[in-house]
């Protein structure tokens, strides 16, 4: 029962309170680059969530059974980035074979997930927080859903903003950053929602 409680709390806390984009500043590049339309933003979020969940599982296993077992902490960054790159490659091949429609919709964003710092950040946070296997997978899933939530909300705002009267110098990146700041303020309201 205690285990289940921790897992649920970790999930809620990664989605809302410690949102990867708005609180931890991980994955800002796709957040600014792929948030022009709700539809593409949602596909990007889903692909990232999928890769994040798999990454959490794969890196936990590698970290526990290879790196810590043989005492090789200096290989951590190199091995994690290789795992992530090959995972993204694998997911790309899988989606291409099983659902060509989805593959077309994601296009260039799929290979770019490799250099999304949210993924490597997630892989590095797991040993730092000392989660077990189940909690790690839930942490990865929660981080992905939090990412999707923030990017879809931002895309919705930006679609509406298309009709707004934005000063010439603030068009594009600056107004998106200021909007993100206001969203981050709104998300601060979630802090103190739960305590572990």
């Amino acid at each position: 029962m205690e285990e289940l409680r921790v897992v649920i709390l970790v999930f809620i806390s990664t989605v809302l309170i410690n949102n990867f984009i708005l609180v931890k500043f991980l994955g800002i590049c796709p957040f600014l680059g792929v948030s022009k339309q709700v539809e593409t933003a949602f596909s990007m979020g889903m692909a990232t969530t999928f890769v994040m969940t798999l990454t959490a599982a794969a890196t936990w296993l590698i970290n526990t059974y290879i790196l810590e077992y043989f005492n090789l902490p200096f290989l951590r960054y190199v091995s994690f980035i290789i795992v992530i790159a090959s995972l993204v490659q694998f997911v790309e091949m899988f989606i291409k074979k099983s659902s060509p429609v989805l593959y077309k919709a994601l296009g260039i964003y799929l290979p770019l997930i490799t250099t999304n710092c949210a993924i490597l950040g997630l892989a590095l946070l797991i040993p730092l927080n000392g989660y077990n296997f189940i909690t790690s997978v839930v942490f990865g899933l929660g981080a992905g859903i939090g990412f999707t939530l923030a990017i879809v909300l931002m895309a919705g705002l930006r679609e509406t903003l298309e009709f707004g009267d934005v000063p010439e110098s603030l068009k594009g990146v600056p107004i998106t950053l200021i909007l993100a700041g206001i969203m981050a303020m709104a998300f601060m309201g979630f802090s103190g929602l739960i305590s572990i």
Binding site: F25, L26, I28, F74, L125, S169, I178, M188
Partner: protein
């Protein structure tokens, strides 16, 4: 010859500044600029990794097969990042603990991989060095400026020294995530105004 190198060096300072013009490398820019010390340390660490990997890649560009160049670049970058991380942990443990996650995340900083792909893999080593120095300094000065603004408004100090006296009520929001987004947005907007005036 010399003119060309000077041109490459100046490129990163203003005309193609990584943060305010190219808008890459945003994650560390937002995350570590809460104090000037962190911003400066992050800028130097990133510049070091950028410089060393540009040198190595421009030297080895003929030996790296085209199909596997991206994984090779990432491996070279990851090696230097591991080196930087261990160096900071050994000699500057305070800075290492306050930057924590963002030192390893230099591996996936788009600025570094982007410069390897766009510049170091196509140009001779001396031009790559000039480019890395320009981009590194360009990245660092924006980080320092942004962190100075945030630290001054958020805590009334710069480099930990109190500048604004006790009469100043610190705007705590500036050192929180929300303040990072808003101050960077205003800074990029302000630079756009300057650029439009210049044209």
């Amino acid at each position: 010859m010399f003119k060309k190198i000077l041109y490459d060096f100046k490129n990163g300072l203003w005309r193609e500044n990584p943060i305010i013009v190219l808008v890459i490398g945003m994650c560390p820019t937002l995350a570590v600029t809460n104090t000037v010390q962190n911003g400066l340390a992050m800028g130097i660490a990133t510049s070091f990794v950028l410089l060393s990997s540009e040198i190595v890649i421009s030297l080895f560009k003929k030996f790296i097969p085209n199909n596997v160049r991206i994984p090779s670049f990432i491996l070279i970058i990851a090696t230097f990042v591991t080196f930087t991380d261990f160096f900071l942990k050994a000699f500057f443990p305070d800075i290492a603990s306050s930057l924590s996650l963002f030192i390893p995340l230099i591996v996936v900083n788009c600025l570094i991989l982007g410069r390897q792909e766009a510049f170091a893999s196509k140009n001779p080593t001396r031009r790559a060095i000039a480019d890395a120095l320009g981009m590194g300094i360009g990245f660092t000065w924006v980080l320092v400026l942004l962190s100075a603004v945030r630290e001054l408004l958020g805590m009334g100090s710069i480099f930990g020294l109190t500048i604004l006296g006790s009469w100043y009520q610190p705007m705590v929001i500036m050192i929180l995530p929300a303040g990072a987004f808003i101050s960077l947005g205003v800074l990029v907007g302000f630079m756009n105004v300057l650029k439009r005036r210049g044209n």
